[in-house]
Amino acid sequence: MKKVGSLLIVLLLGVCLSAANGEDYTPGQKINKDYETFAKQFLANHCVDCHGETEPEGGLSLNDLGPVDEVNSGIWKTVWAQVTLKEMPPPEMLQPDVVERLKFSDWIVDELKRVMRDKGGFQAHLDPDKGNFVDHDLLFGPLPDGITLQPTSSPARLWRVTPEEHITRLNELINTEPEYDPKKPGLRAHGDAVPTNHGGELKLYFGTDRIIKWQGGTVAYATSVKSVPAVLSSARDHGLENYPHFSTVNSAEATQIMTVAGDLLRYMAYGPLSIANPEQITDDPNTYKMEGDIRGLPTALVYSTKIVRPLTPVYELMKAENVSDEHLRAAVDSLFESLTYRPPTEEESNQYLAIVKQSVDKLGKEEGAVLGLSAIFLDRDALFRPELAEYGTPDEYGRVMLQDWELGLAVNHALRYIKPDAQLRQAVLDGRMRTKEDVKLEVERMLADDSIRKPRVLQFFRDYFDYDLGGYICKDSRALAETGVSNRGTSHYRSMFDATASTDRLVELILKEDKDVLKRLLTTDQVVATNSDQIYFGRRRTPDEVKASIAAEKKAQAEETRKLKAEIETLEKEIVELKAKLEASPEDKALERMLTKQTKELENKQKAEKKNKRSNTNHNVEPADLSGPKIFARVSRRSFGNGSLKPDRILATVPEGERLGILTHPSWLVSHSDAMDNHAIRRGRWIRERLLGGGIPDVPITVDAMLPDEPQNTLRERMRVTRENYCWQCHKKMDPLGLPFEMFNHAGVYRETELGKPVDTTGEIIDSGDPSLDGKVNDAIDMIRKIAESERAEQVFVRHAFRFWMGRNETLNDAPVLQEAYRAYKENGGSMNALITSLLTSDAFLYRQVKPPAQRADQKAGDKDASKVTAR
């Protein structure tokens, strides 16, 4: 609390001083200045010396740039990025003061928004990739004079549900997931997200928990079972994927949702009978004769008779002989709540009841009820989650605190994909979801209970680390073979989807302990592993070692063959002798038994001799010695017959000196690779943005971002092109942070040589913002150890958590929230739970801006309350 107290004093001092000199800057308030009197002067003072008319730096002339307009908007965007990130003016030149820089940056954004309003708009500053454009030191350090913060809030808004949320929500209608088993905490349980299947596709499966027999193999099974892919789309794959303004629902998606709704309602009503014939539903699979080859057909499945799907009022409605208002109303209300997570208002209930009745009148009960109820799947609140705060009176900053269902669902959504549990629901109904204390109580209760699954927390780590993309990186077959891992069939991709589930589990294990969470994720020596991870966590052998391994195996095989031959010869002799003895004593049963035994043994040995000696050994990789207790990882429902992803894992220790933390695990490394090689730039960018809090401007459109195709050269050598002056300004922020990961090849296998020479794993941390971090590093492990100790990395982690849970980028007004969240994390020993609780009880989470904040003229009265809000 001491630090926060000091900050408040500083803030208040800032407020007083600023108010006194009349030069206040309040983040988020419009900069009422024009080009001629403000921006042109800024350019003249700080830019045109180098970017003048003659021989301008970088070929960019700013002397006649002019006010922001459609023509020069691209250049202004570049100027905005360079000035905001303090890349420009260069260090040796006269620097604008902090407030001047902030005002100039805000002015450009305001102007770009105004000019581009009818031309697709300007939203770059809202993208999570630009979150770091807010100066880290201003967020976490003392504010200079002249800056007045305003109590924070988030905009009133609608969030469209994500594809995962939507599928998980629909899954609740037709599948009963197992309850959480504390003895097997890794197994997927009720409340966990529906994960992607064996091929990485997000699908909803019908009735797989009742399938007890099928004809054919894996592909036949995958074709026979009923499944529907995710209908809602998500255009993003790297970084934070779900800001409210990212997505909507288009007409194609709406149409498809209607189709899926019909399928779901029929399954809710009739179970497997909606997709199978009656004779296929039996507990004795032998009673159902599968005539001929029916692989891949829905008739090639046998379902058990045990009802496992949830039985809801929809089931009761369809089971009843007649249609009654009571049944219809119950079905409408229950389905509405299952899809929107709140009970319908009376008006909503009446509206949908009327719709269903009309359909039933037109088409009869069976068809009509299905069609009418389908409408609820397209209710706004079944696809979007509103945070509109259309109640109460806004405070002087235009803010209203969320309450009741909006607040309850916001809290629920912060942690979960399924509907609020009974306690949270009751809290809302009882009017106990209106204050910060109410929220704290519920958040702490849910965080403390492992049986309440919290897939949103895991999703944050997926978004933050981006370790879940490996299975989607299409590998060149030959390049993959060169890494040493198998390139046969879909083996590598399957391993990567397994690896994602494994890393998920490792994250959960670290969250379970809830101590120094970020540091542990970065430096853990643990790995959740499958069998194939012995190769992926192994060491790539050098060509000589490969030869030696092959020779050793041949030698061992030869020795085994020689031994076998000798044993066969001995057995043959013994059998001849036994036969002779038996001829002499045909009644001797013991002899007879001995002869039978020896003959059988001979046959076995002969079979072993003839057996194909083709080796399954992977000579290219020295396997890692991974062993440890058995645990489980969360994988999808059976999607590929016996070839479906398996939950079985072990908790092992990584090879010492070769791996450290999840950035050195193949799931992360492959996610940050490409078809042919490592992606050092993307890896470096990850370190720069997610750990060091640095911002990277967009690639200029004039840049042809291609490395030369030189198979004889290493990636590091090919990346010489990024060292050209023009490129290096940005690439120095990324490349030296990504190249230390060259200690792994692009399948994530550890290596000591590359193209026959010792691999160069050196790198450098340049201009990190924390001088104690800057300097050369020997390899990725050296770099990770260094950064993991850094306070800055933890603060940057907190910034990303803020973005994830608030659904927006931070502004300077959020500084108190961020500092409090960091304090909570730190003072609780690096506790994620403390961090989340702090964020979810902050003004940024609780308040919605429903009208524009008061302008500067009204500021004085508000300043007092700013401190109040900060102190909450």
Binding site: P56, G59, S61, D64, L65, G66, V71, N72, P155, L158, P163, H198, G199, G200, E201, L202, A222, K226, P229, A235, P244, H245, S247, V249, A252, E253, T255, T259, G292, D293, I294, G296, L297, P298, T299, I355, Q358, S359, K362, L363, G368, L371, G372, A375, L378, D379, R380, L383, L388, E390, Y472, S477, G489, Y493, D674, A675, M676, M706, D709, V850
Partner: protein, 439 residues
Amino acid sequence: MINRRTLLQGMAAGACASFLGQLSPRQLQAASNHQSTPKRVIFFMQNQGFDPKTCVPEGMTSSGSLAKAKLPEPIEALEPYKERLHIINGLHGQHTSPSHSAFFGALGGYRGSDGVPPSAATIDYEMSKVLPQTLLPHLCIGMDSIENMTTKPTIATLSASGAGQPIFMHSNPNHLYQMLYGGISTGDIRQQHEAQSNLFNQIEKLAAAKGESLPLTDQLRYGQYVQGFEEINGLRERLASVSDHLRKFAPQVDERYTKPEFETDWHDVLLDLGISALKSGITNTLTIGSGRGEIFGAWKGLGVEQQGHNLGHMEQPDNPIWIKIRQYNSRMLVRIMEELESVPEGSGTMMDHTLIVYTSNNADKQHTSGANWPVMLLGNFDGAFKTGCFTQLDGKRPINALYSSLLCAAGAPCDRFNMNEQLASKFDTASGPLKEVLV
């Protein structure tokens, strides 16, 4: 150097482009291709592979005219149409992982596999965007066993409008009929159509009402959602408004719809519906998935008792089963051509402005590396494609190059389709369209 002058110059060029962009698609086509007739494209994807020996005339090993060649038995139905035919052998799709089907990758030109979501839009969708706008931009129909078409009437395995955005194909002809011709239907279909229309109208009203007081920033995004219903309802209303026109093209609903004896009854009527959608102008892009992109499928109506996976394990050449299936496909192709020929358009017929792309989502066979991906083109797309010939390529250009050619012929030239330079350096020896197929 970048300064205001160069920016203004760039802007002037951009203004030309945006002016072109404001023209109607038909005008755009006229501007780029000097032709004013509409165009249409049909993709026919037979699963389990397309063995070149079942289409390349015997003895034909190098490129040349088909005039004197005799088409092999499986495609002999196309013999009278061979002046419209272009058989292409020697494209490849090794990067699409087509063994056991490339799924979305077949029309996308990227890695696909069972359970792998689409990583980008497929060529049929891209073509539908480029071709002159129609009421329904893109129609996909899927043919499978009757059991699969009944229990899973809409699946998505072949077409996509973007990464992670599958397009569902229609397999229940009753549903499709209702969608296309509900407004002119009678009986049960009419009832269902009216009930569904009423429902969607009410959903639109409810959705609009819940958007009235949204914050300014959300209005546009939510507006797109409401607009989706307007589009759905608008399509139905537009179809209703041209009901007299549609009546001329709507197929008769008979027992094959309601009581199919074999799955091929539904295949036939689905094709009828697809053709009618083209002839009536409802759509100009049709994708037909025979076997629905997977490695199963059934053709009992042809006397093929074996189904599904086993068919893919058989050699196709000289195989009576595969001859039957390919002959069935060929008859379907002939039917499409005859029907489109029967409709006058411009100075010729609809078929003159049409291209049919016939191939497999499995390259040349079920278990394949994709080293060879045979394709047949039918029609010349308003003179854009060479016809009456066989082209033997060297196996070094990917199917993506064919797709670039299609886009080029449709007036949207691109050097590469869904292939970045890095992949192209491994999988393509050239760039741009296939010069061997374009006039």
